[in-house]
């Protein structure tokens, strides 16, 4: 295309425009995909959220009724509270865990490759499969976790059968499954940091601790931003481990928002109401993500 355009003198483009055109050309497939598979369903959900719809009969327009209902729906507000608790527990654990593992496997020792691979293996399992495996590990009497605790003289709880521990269990499974992925992101970031910085710091007498705080952490900022934002967004959408491990129980203790949305849409057939909740969740995640990006904006281009 560019070549034909060039041949006609009237359409000669400046180098800058040509570059732009090519750039956008490369973006087209992705943008089209996003429009069809992401933007369109969101608009669709917005439309459905203004209706009363059980999926079987016709849609009935109800304006903002669904949004009014959810503001007084105790179960929805509870589900937001549970989701926020989950996010607050999950995001920092994921950050510290992934960074810690990355630092460990960043050593230049032969056997490290084995650990690197094994930490990454759970990532290749689907979260559903991981949850099924862990549901056996969590069993009060026959589960591995409580048997290990028994060795050190501790009496483990019924992990999934207690309102206190069920959400903790969900966090553990999601961490176990996802930590390897973020570890790789941090590892890539770590290996991008020039060695000279550390050498110079050592010569100046900086200890390991201060090298970590003053070199590693600041220079990992792009990786950290990525890990924090993606972990944050995905943890707001926690569903698979809840569905498989606890189905929202016991006594709704793990009924996170996406699970409650699923229940309303596919069990209670309140698809309009579920869409309204999905829109609210979408807005919450959007606002928080923008705030996060603003705070963490990359200031360390070097």
């Amino acid at each position: 295309l560019i070549a034909t355009l060039r041949r006609r003198r009237r359409f000669r483009l400046s180098a800058r425009w040509e570059e732009r055109l090519v750039g956008y050309g490369f973006l087209v497939p992705d943008v089209l995909g996003l429009l069809v598979f992401v933007a369109l369903p969101i608009v669709g959900a917005l439309y459905v959220s203004l209706h009363d719809w059980n999926g079987l009969g016709p849609l009935q327009f109800v304006g903002l009724d669904n949004y009014r209902t959810l503001m007084t729906d105790g179960a929805f507000i509870d589900s937001l509270r549970i989701t926020v608790t989950y996010v607050v527990a999950f995001v920092p654990s994921m950050f510290v865990g992934a960074l810690g593992l990355a630092l460990l496997v960043n050593q230049r020792l032969r056997p490290i490759a084995f650990f690197r691979a094994s930490y990454f293996v759970p990532v290749m399992l689907s979260l559903v499969v991981a949850s099924v495996i862990w549901s056996f590990i969590f069993d009060e009497h026959t589960g591995a976790l409580n048997q290990i605790l028994a060795i050190v003289g501790l009496h483990g709880p019924s992990w999934l059968g207690s309102t206190r521990w069920a959400l903790v269990s969900v966090v553990i499974v999601a961490l176990w499954q996802g930590v390897g992925y973020n570890m790789i992101i941090f590892l890539a970031g770590l290996q991008d940091i020039p060695r000279d910085f550390y050498e110079a710091a050592s010569i100046d007498g900086a200890g390991a601790w201060s090298r970590f705080w003053r070199i590693t952490l600041p220079l990992l900022r792009p990786s950290s931003t990525f890990v924090l934002v993606t972990t944050f967004i995905s943890s707001f959408q926690v569903f698979d481990p809840v569905y498989v491990l606890t189905t929202g129980g016991p006594a709704n203790a793990t009924s996170a928002t996406v699970f409650y949305i699923y229940e309303n849409a596919f069990k209670f057939l309140r698809i309009g109401y579920a869409s309204a909740m999905a829109m609210v969740l979408f807005l919450i995640v959007l606002v928080f993500s923008l705030i996060q990006l603003r705070f963490l904006r990359d200031q360390t281009n070097f």
């Binding site: 079987l56 559903v128 019924s158 309102t163 189905t247 129980g249 016991p250 849409a265 596919f266």
Partner: protein, 450 residues
């Protein structure tokens, strides 16, 4: 609710691979479905799978029949369809199954929403009214014109709305208390008949890693299903007879919530099980001495744990209460949106009412499930009158009520009450009023039939 729900735990992936291998879907659809399965978004997978259906073929009628997947008895259905398809070249039946966890919600509903629903399908008690209220269910009184007297009245009532029949009932699986004879003998305990006996026995039988009793700890349809006998035998009901309000604000209902709360809080029953307790494994493996379970457990225990001595007794009653239990089972529904309603009626009535082979096979050869149709049970007498099934036939079945067709939001409200008693230390009365509040809020805006 039925024992089948335990069986069909196949993933979307299994189904996808199977359909690909049988040439039901193209390579491209397979890749698409695979992609969706990889994203582990059941809804996306369902949508993609739905795109694979359709397509008319000339003068021949093809009926679509959908059901959840159940490995052990789907083969017997396929065999019956094979015989029909051979005899009726102009009406071909195409049978499709889906993972049980996706079947009613993500699969059936989305299909009807997008206008690609099947001509006939199986429906559970909980979804029955949704389908009647929204006009998807076809009334089929004419199918019962000549054989109404063969059917158990209660089974017909369970599928009747405002005098019209909306589905074919075809199986009944009542619930009872199973126990391990060896463990009870060792502890010197006789099978409990009253709630006092039950608590006493559960306490004595809880030792070390052995639980006294297994009741369903996870919230859901199955938990409510197995709890209703306790509620009913105390004289309680979930909703008032006019469906205007909850009927749970009674001491009777409170006592039933309280009983299940006690069994868990005192440590006699497990707080969590690795699979639905429709699976009698805990009893078979000796992890528990008693278990509330359905008729299907006889076959499970005999084949899974041969030689393990088990007994059956009716669900214990509070002092002065009368024995009552519940039975579950799927229902065969026809879609009012079907283009081939007459053909669908013809096939359904052949399958469940005229054919000599399949109904008997379903009831007592491939499965052990009572039929609501008397001639079928008579044909099965060699199975149903043999020990230990005869206990169900003579003692349990006559006291069984059909699983109530409460919509899922009522199921959820009742479950919230049971969970509060089990896991939040709420008294029976508090649990009952929590459940009643949820039911009242729902019924206030409910305009459908009951």
């Amino acid at each position: 609710v039925s024992g089948d729900q335990r069986q069909g735990d196949r993933t979307s992936l299994d189904v996808l691979v199977e359909r690909f291998q049988r040439g039901r879907i193209s390579r491209r659809q397979f890749s698409g479905g695979l992609l969706a399965a990889g994203l582990s978004l059941p809804a996306v997978a369902a949508v993609l799978e739905a795109c694979g259906g359709g397509g008319g073929n000339g003068g021949k009628t093809t009926l679509q029949w959908w059901k959840f997947a159940a490995d052990h008895d789907d083969g017997s259905i396929r065999k019956a369809i094979g015989r029909w398809n051979k005899q009726n070249p102009d009406i071909q039946v195409n049978f499709q199954t889906f993972p049980v966890s996706d079947y009613e919600g993500a699969k059936l509903t989305t299909a009807f929403a997008s206008g690609t629903g099947p001509d006939m399908f199986w429906i559970s008690a909980g979804a029955f009214l949704d389908y009647v209220n929204s006009g998807v269910a076809q009334s089929i009184d004419d199918l019962f014109k000549n054989n109404r007297s063969q059917y158990l009245q209660a089974a017909i009532d369970a599928v009747t709305v405002n005098g019209k029949i909306y589905a074919i009932p075809f199986e009944m699986e009542p619930v009872a208390l199973y126990y391990r004879k060896d463990l009870l003998d060792k502890a010197g305990i006789t099978p409990p008949q009253t709630w006092t006996d039950l608590l006493d026995a559960a306490q004595k039988l809880t030792t070390g890693h052995q639980q006294g009793i297994v009741i369903e700890p996870s919230q859901g349809v199955y938990q409510n299903f197995t709890w209703y006998p306790f509620l009913w035998s105390a004289g309680g009901e979930v909703v008032s007879s006019d469906w205007k309000s909850s009927a749970l604000r009674t001491p009777a209902a409170a006592s039933a919530f309280d009983l299940w709360g006690q069994l868990v809080n005192k440590g006699y029953a497990p707080k969590k099980t690795s699979s639905l307790t429709a699976d009698s494994g805990p009893l078979g493996r000796g992890e528990a001495a008693m278990q509330v379970c359905g008729f299907w457990a006889i076959a499970q225990l005999k084949s899974g744990f041969p030689g393990v001595p088990f007994g059956i007794t009716r669900i214990p009653v509070p002092s002065g209460g009368k024995p009552v239990t519940v039975y579950g089972g799927w229902r065969h529904m026809l879609s009012s949106r079907s283009q081939h309603l007459d053909a669908a009626k013809k096939f359904a009535s052949w399958l469940w009412m005229q054919d000599e082979i399949f109904p008997k096979d379903w009831a007592c050869q491939t499965n052990t499930k009572y039929s609501p149709r008397k001639p079928v049970n008579d044909a099965c007498s060699s199975v149903f009158d043999a020990t230990p099934a005869d206990y169900f036939t003579n003692q349990v079945l006559p006291t069984a009520r059909a699983e109530p067709r409460y919509p899922d939001q009522i199921v959820k409200a009742v479950g919230d009450g049971i969970q509060a008693a089990m896991f939040q230390g709420k008294s029976g009365q508090e649990a009952a009023s929590l459940a009643a509040d949820g039911i009242d809020a729902y019924l206030k805006n409910y305009k459908g039939a009951h």
